[in-house]
Amino acid sequence: MSSFIDFFHEVGKLKDTAGRGWILIGAENPASVTDHSFRMAIMAWFLGKKKKNINFEKAIKMALVHDLCELHAENLTPYDHGHLPKDKKDWPAAFDKLPRFSKSKKLENFLKKEKKEKKALLKITANMPGDLKKEIISLWQDYSKGSSREARFVRQINRLETLLQAFEYGKESECRPFNSWWIGSEEQIDDPVLIECMLQIAEKFYHDGKISKKKTKRKRTLKKK
């Protein structure tokens, strides 16, 4: 039980780990890794129901563990690989473009990220019982490689959740969703159910090139019971 409590305590730190992309775009209340993973799990469950052969339990667990490594592995965006202009004033223009890399640089970034994340995950699960440790590592490996249909589905949901979050920031503040989120989704998402969801998100939030501005300010508040 003691190793579980240590693990729960560690995992809790992700509640305070803001997504790097949201910090870069200057979001007022940047969503945390936990916020992202939680909504991904819900999306995997609901949208997975529209698929014939998705194992929900596996997909939900995968969504929950896919970013655990961010406890120890630095969360880097593609912009952090030499695509952040020195002058902050130039950042919005940069975020409208998806960073492009050479074939060798893509492979180098991918392998470096995978290595760092695996090392972090082994550290996080070091004191976990063997079966849970293996399950977490296996889910992450599957996700990372996109081996199973669940992994390919959840990887695309990762993109979709981020897209939705970007649109929500656009709705609640002057921090507009930058085009790169959309372009990246159009290059990555190929599941028909998720493409439909992506288009409906756009329909709901993006009208004639403008964000629907019915303000829904999101703040972390304490609710009285």
Binding site: N53, K134, S138, Q141, F153, I183, G184
Partner: protein
């Protein structure tokens, strides 16, 4: 995204890798049934990809079934000839210019797609839009943000 009995279009390398994985997993299952510790388990460092299959038979069976379905319904992407070789189809290596930057994609089926490595699914909105086009074409993907992909070169390996 795949459904049962759909055709899976794979590059030769992609198919070989899946066959290799299938054979390794089958040998793990065989040795597990015999109650032996397969050699492949001896070092986690040597075979990290198969770590998860060491004790989880359900996981092993699920993956084997999935691979069997893919291998049974797979078709190798063939290099097109003549006029077709100048058009974007599965297996094409496509150089594009987007927002003034150059990029290179390989057009693949859903199983091999990995945009982080430049492998774009032919079923993604960008993949669908590019299919059938050739060098010199400008393809605009607009739903809802307009992005122009200027096709610079199309080749097949």
């Amino acid at each position: 995204m795949e459904t049962e009995n759909q055709k899976f279009y794979l590059t030769k390398n992609g198919l070989e890798e899946l066959k290799k994985e299938y054979n390794v997993l089958k040998s793990i299952r065989m040795q597990k049934t015999k109650g032996e510790a397969p050699n492949i388990w001896e070092s986690e460092d040597l075979n990290p990809d198969y770590l998860s299959f060491r004790e989880d038979l359900d996981l092993l069976e699920t993956r084997l079934t999935e691979l069997e379905n893919v291998l049974k319904n797979s078709e190798i992407i063939k290099k097109p000839h003549g006029e077709e070789a100048s058009k974007i189809n599965l297996g094409a290596i496509v150089s594009v210019e987007v927002h003034g930057d150059t990029d290179e994609f390989v057009m693949v089926g859903t199983l091999e797609a990995n945009p982080a490595l430049g492998k774009i699914s032919n079923q993604s909105p960008v993949g669908r839009a590019l299919m059938g086009h050739r060098a010199g074409d400008e393809v605009i993907v607009s739903s809802p943000i307009k992005t122009c992909y200027k096709i610079k070169k199309v080749k097949y390996s």
